[in-house]
Amino acid sequence: MFDTISEKKFLLRQLVKRDLTSKYKDSVLGILWSFFNPLLIMLVFTAIFSMLFGKNIENFPVYFLSGRIIYDFYNSATKGAMRSMKRNASLLKKIYVPKYMFTISAVCYEFVNFLISFIILFGVMLITGAQFHLTSIFAVIPILLLVILIFGAGLILAVCNTYFSDVGYLYDVFALILMYASALFYPIEIVPAKVQMIFTLNPLYSAITCFRECVVYGVLPNMSTLLYLAAFAFTLFGVGVLLFSIYEKKLALEL
């Protein structure tokens, strides 16, 4: 069972397809919601916060959206991965499927949504007359590192959430803190210099900064920020894989 890669690939494709179709099956607008949701949130935030910080930030909608889509991807992908075991509990207790397949598929599913949100960013940049930069191509690097980070965090969370069902609630709060420590809708300069240190330690903020540098400001990402993100991502990934491989076979008993 599941000895070859192509068997796993086919299963992965089926799982992602299942999630995508079930998400939109009953809504009239269907997949369009993937566009509307971030767009509406962006409008609300722009309306509120451009009054507060508008003067400090050039092109607030693009500044906000570029951070928001990264945060959204991280947030929903880690949460999806965290719940992947419990959500498929009935299946995991009935047939043998490698359990990490469900964690991977949850992340892949959110990655598809993330790609869709790029279209919105593109559209908003077009409308607001933002400049497009050739350096945008380098955004692939922080995104790739972010995906590795998410896999690591997701695998750890999936194990913890299976053993302790209140980890989900704690993580919700943690994710909220992470959002405020990512400078999504305000400039980092308004934060006291001492607190800025904390921001630079937040790997999500590093990812957002690198992404903004490539796409919004048209410069190459800061090397030390990128290296920090890479180190963090690979460490977390290593820990996640290790933890998951230790507990994978015991998980079915805890579901």
Partner: protein, 270 residues
């Protein structure tokens, strides 16, 4: 100590492997023990874990031993029946063999492609059409796209669903669901077939067809592990038999011998 045991296991593991090759053993179950924690005093929140750690009250978990030191071997081409009263641990044994549960201790060696016919149609998505579910369910059973494309018509024909294959599964009757599940699960050509009481799904027509299909699969020299409450069925299909009671292996041997003892025991208890 635990590590030492593990290393020891690894070493003996290899020896078992070699022995298995020589003896034509396809399933080798060695001292398998399976314990479940009772749900009611399981610590399943972080809050409780912290509180109990502080109170030093972590001595938790009454454990139920569902399988207790089970050891047996199945040779290539054997048809093994598994007998036991309700709650004896038969289904758990099959789940351990299918890889769903990891045994608490002991070793399991399996050689060859296993087809577990345990839960038919587990993993059906009820909003999906029958057609999409064939691919989804096939993927869960580690089949591949080309294979499913090739066999698609065969599945639809065998399941007798006709045009309903384009309808969502939530509109199916339970019989239709079982028929579709059966048709997908029996597609593979396995070396080892693990069956848990599924020889009878659907109406009388489909029952006949499905047991013919199973007989056909069994007759091709596959190894069969069959759990059933029908003594007649086991006598007919199997040539060897094991009897499990309260998680312990009571008896193993020739099918008639074990069946006779089992029936005598059941009648004696009345």
């Amino acid at each position: 100590m635990k590590i030492l045991n593990k290393i020891k296991n690894y070493i003996t593991h290899d020896e078992v492997n070699v022995a298995a090759l020589e003896d034509n053993v396809v399933v080798n179950v060695e001292h398998v023990t399976m314990e479940f924690k009772i749900t009611k005093d399981k610590i399943d929140t972080l809050k409780e874990y912290v509180i109990r750690t502080i109170k030093r009250n972590k001595k938790e978990k009454e454990k139920v031993r569902v399988l207790d030191d089970i050891t047996f071997k199945v040779y290539k081409g054997d048809k093994l029946g598994i007998l036991g009263f309700n709650g004896a641990g038969k289904s758990t044994l099959l789940k351990v063999l299918a890889g769903i549960y990891e045994p608490t201790s002991g070793n399991i060696e399996i050689k060859g492609k296993v087809a577990p016919l345990l839960e038919l149609g587990a993993g059906f998505d009820k909003n999906y059409t029958g057609r999409n579910n064939i691919y989804l369910n096939g993927a869960f059973l580690s089949m591949e796209k080309d294979f499913l494309n090739e066999k698609f018509n065969e599945i639809v024909e065998f399941s007798e669903l006709g045009e309903y294959i384009e309808y969502p599964v939530k509109n199916y009757s339970s019989g239709m669901r079982a028929k579709l599940g059966f048709s997908i699960a029996t597609l593979v050509e396995p070396d080892i077939l693990i069956v848990d009481e599924i020889l009878s799904v659907g109406d009388i027509k489909f029952r006949k067809k499905s047991s013919e299909k199973i007989n056909e699969m069994m007759s091709e020299g596959v190894t069969v592990l069959l759990v059933s409450h029908s003594i007649g069925q086991i006598r007919r299909i199997c040539d060897k038999c094991i009897w499990i009671d309260n998680g312990k292996l009571v008896m193993q041997g020739d099918v008639d011998e074990v069946c006779d003892a089992y029936v005598a025991n059941a009648e004696g208890e009345k």
